[in-house]
């Protein structure tokens, strides 16, 4: 290692590091001692809510002093991370809020302008970054018209264009289709030269392993649980880690097949479309079956989910609910139903969990749906408590939904729909950002509902989820 006055250049050093977010009693991370040398590629693992995103924010110098309390020290090249920002590039878990400009090209150029890159170098670097992540549109495409996966790719391009020495990626492929995810991983691999340090947070270990040479597992209570090469870590602690929630390769999850054949028809889509977001699509869902909707980014899956859920008015074709689902209302399409009737019959989980939150605490959020549909109060409380417990949110019951970690927010939004136990459940990417334990809990909840005769539609890129739960799949094509 290079040494300058005793400090290794290009290294990350944490000593007893801890951070507690303002407004929380528990520490998000604590007692962390870690050293990452220049050029290392580290996969950071840990259960959902263990503080991985918080740690990355600390390394990027993005935890302002006024937003929490710190213990111990963090150093990048011997500097406070807040003073070493130009060496660090970070892609956050949530892509939408990191786009700054109105046009895609301008957004990638934004960081280069800030760093004072000469004007004539900017556009070639922008084009190169966009090409590397396989961005399919021209530079002047409005950023507002991108699907979730497209936004993620653009955010990555904006960071790669800066050629950071330390690259921090927080679940960079969470919303990408499998081809896009592979492409992004290739882009990351290409962008790394021998001097670039990578710290990657990713729940899906198998896909991430080719990118890394070291695995660090953080413990939710504090400290490092395991550290070493992937082979060594998984050989020594594989079983324990898998039980604790890490997606250890070679530890498959048992499938949850349907107990019986599918029942009555619940809902049908005929040539259902909404130009230009969704091309005409046919689809039907029965009671007691789980249907997975697959397809590349931008194919219109989320649009389809909203249309089926009676939340958007179709631009073409129609949605018909069966008498089994809607009784006498079956004659009108779902988007014309009154809201309480809709909520009792069809539950929707949006792709972005935060779009869904209506109240100020986790507990109220879960109780809202059952209350609105007229469930008696003791039953509401019982349902809420059970969901909080099973999904590992009990300690967060009083927290504001907007302060949850990515995986916690996802579980809460799924739980809000589960709370009313609607006959038809439509979920957009219900499992992203989950550790192995919460993932299995979610799959069990879905399987339980299905076996009780509910219909489930899940938009997903998660192949494990499809393998474990789906009885049928529908694949949307991307329109040329």
């Amino acid at each position: 290692m290079f040494r300058e006055g005793g400090v290794a250049v290009g290294s990350v050093v944490l000593r007893g590091f801890g951070w507690r977010h303002a407004g929380r009693k528990r520490w998000a991370v604590r007692g962390l001692d870690l050293r990452v040398e220049r050029g290392e590629r580290v996969l950071l693992l840990g259960p959902s809510g263990a503080g991985k995103s918080t740690l990355l924010a600390a390394l990027a110098g993005l935890l302002p002093e006024d937003s929490g309390e710190q213990e111990g020290t963090v150093e990048i090249d011997g500097l406070d991370p807040r003073k070493a920002r130009e060496r660090v590039g970070i892609v956050f878990q949530d892509p939408e809020s990191q786009l700054v400009m109105a046009r895609c090209g301008d957004d990638v150029a934004f960081g280069l302008e800030n760093r004072g890159v000469p004007a004539e170098e900017i556009w070639p670097r922008v084009d190169e970054a966009l090409r590397r992540v396989g961005f399919p549109y021209r530079r002047d495409r409005p950023t507002a018209a991108l699907s979730g996966g497209e936004q993620q790719r653009l955010a990555l391009a904006g960071t790669l264009a800066l050629r950071p020495e330390l690259l921090l990626l927080d679940e960079p492929t969470a919303n990408l289709d499998p081809a896009g995810a592979a492409q992004v991983r290739r882009a990351v691999a290409e962008a790394l030269d021998a001097d670039t340090t990578l710290i990657l947070v990713e729940h899906r270990v198998t896909e991430a392993l080719p990118l890394v040479d070291r695995v660090v597992v953080v413990e939710p209570g504090g400290g490092v649980r395991a550290d070493g090469t992937p082979e060594a870590v998984f050989a020594a602690h594989g079983d324990v880690l898998a039980a604790e929630g890490v997606w250890v390769p070679g530890h498959p999850v048992p499938p949850r097949r349907a107990a019986g054949p599918a029942g009555d028809l619940l809902i049908t889509a005929d040539r259902l479309g909404l130009p230009p977001r969704l091309a005409p699509t046919d689809l039907s869902v029965r009671a007691g079956e789980a249907l997975a909707v697959l397809g590349p980014n931008g194919a219109g899956k989320s649009t389809l989910a909203l249309l089926l859920g009676g939340l958007l008015r179709p631009g073409a074709g129609r949605v018909t609910a069966s008498a089994e689902l809607a009784g006498r209302d079956a004659r009108t399409p779902p988007h014309r139903w009154r809201a309480p009737a809709l909520a009792r019959r069809i539950g929707s989980v949006f792709q972005d969990p935060e779009h869904q939150f209506v109240t100020g605490t986790v507990r109220d959020e879960l109780a809202l749906g059952p209350r609105r549909t007229g469930t008696p109060e003791p039953a509401v409380r019982a349902t809420v408590d059970e969901l909080l417990e099973r999904l590992g949110l009990a300690a967060l019951a009083g927290a504001n939904p907007y302060t949850l970690s990515g995986g916690e927010a996802r579980r809460l939004s799924v739980a809000t729909a589960l709370a009313t136990a609607p006959r038809l459940l439509i979920c957009d990417e219900p499992t992203f950002g989950q550790d192995r334990r919460t993932w299995r809990e979610l799959v069990d909840l879905f399987a339980g509902l299905r076996d009780a005769g509910h219909g489930i539609v899940a938009v997903t890129h998660d192949a494990d989820f499809v393998a474990a739960l789906a009885d049928r799949t529908v694949t949307l094509e991307r329109r040329p």
Binding site: E86, S97, L112, N114
Partner: protein, 266 residues
């Protein structure tokens, strides 16, 4: 849905001018005309404004669409004046107390309505043909506006169409959870207010994260920024501002020569 894209035909000779020059010209033009209360100068100004419209690449239909609230306010001005004009000289045309319409009142009303149109149209034309990103770039590069503030405002402006989508999302989220207002107008108003509040809260949260993301990409790093999109401020741009001053001044001069000029103050 609110559209923030400019609507001009790209490449129209005046739409292409530097945004700062366009805004400055519009302000100069408007403020010169604010100085008079007579009908003649604004009438001339409106004629000029309509004549240059094709040079901005704006269709007349579109202008009518954007200007209709303006026409509505013109009617309001007329009504108010009939009731509350300060000057009620001239021949009495209608006397049904308290409504007293005289020829003086009508001339004043005509003057005010024309002035309102003449003053507002330049802004409408200019902003209909100006992209927000270009405006911020030009403010920084040509008007020496502080870059952090201009870019910050621009980043927030990008949220406008998103706010429209967000409004839709909030409404959908509420509907999905069984919350709606039905036909009861009070419930509707309450739902409207709570949706608007949720929108503001969501916008602030988004702003907070956006600020973090901007810092992560070196926004406030103290390094002098470079510019990827060069905005030029050339002779043609100076000429645009100068012509705005000359034309509006000429309209006033004609009015003075005809003896119709009535200054705002004095």
């Amino acid at each position: 849905m609110i559209d923030i894209q400019p609507v001009a035909a790209p490449g129209a000779p005046l739409a292409r001018r530097n945004p700062v020059a366009k805004v400055a010209a519009a302000l100069v033009f408007s403020f010169v005309l604010l100085a008079t209360l007579d009908p003649v100068a604004p009438a001339l100004a409106i004629a000029v404004e309509l004549a240059v419209l094709p040079l901005f690449g704006v269709r007349y239909r579109l202008l009518a669409l954007r200007a209709w609230p303006l026409l509505a306010s013109a009617v309001g001005v007329l009504v108010t004046l009939v009731l509350f004009a300060a000057d009620r000289s001239g021949r009495v045309l209608l006397d049904a107390s308290p409504v007293l319409v005289t020829s003086g009142v009508l001339v004043t009303a005509l003057g005010l309505v024309l002035r309102l149109l003449a003053v507002a149209l330049p802004g409408i034309i200019v902003f209909a043909t100006t992209d927000a990103t270009d405006l911020a770039d030009a403010l920084i590069q040509n008007a020496k506006a502080p870059a952090r503030f201009a870019i910050g405002a621009l980043a927030a402006f990008r949220l406008v169409p998103l706010l429209g989508q967000e409004w839709q999302m909030i409404s959908m989220a509420r509907r999905a959870r069984g919350v709606d207002a039905g036909r009861n107008p009070v419930a509707r108003l309450r739902l409207f207010v709570s949706t608007a509040f949720a929108l503001l809260v969501g916008a602030i949260r988004r702003g907070t994260r956006l600020a973090v993301a901007m810092d992560a990409r070196g926004f406030d790093a103290g390094v002098p920024r470079t510019v990827a999109r060069r905005q030029r401020f050339g002779l043609a741009d100076w000429a645009l501002i100068a012509s705005a001053a000359v034309v509006s001044g000429a309209a006033l001069t004609v009015s003075v020569l005809l003896g119709t000029f009535r200054p705002l103050i004095g």
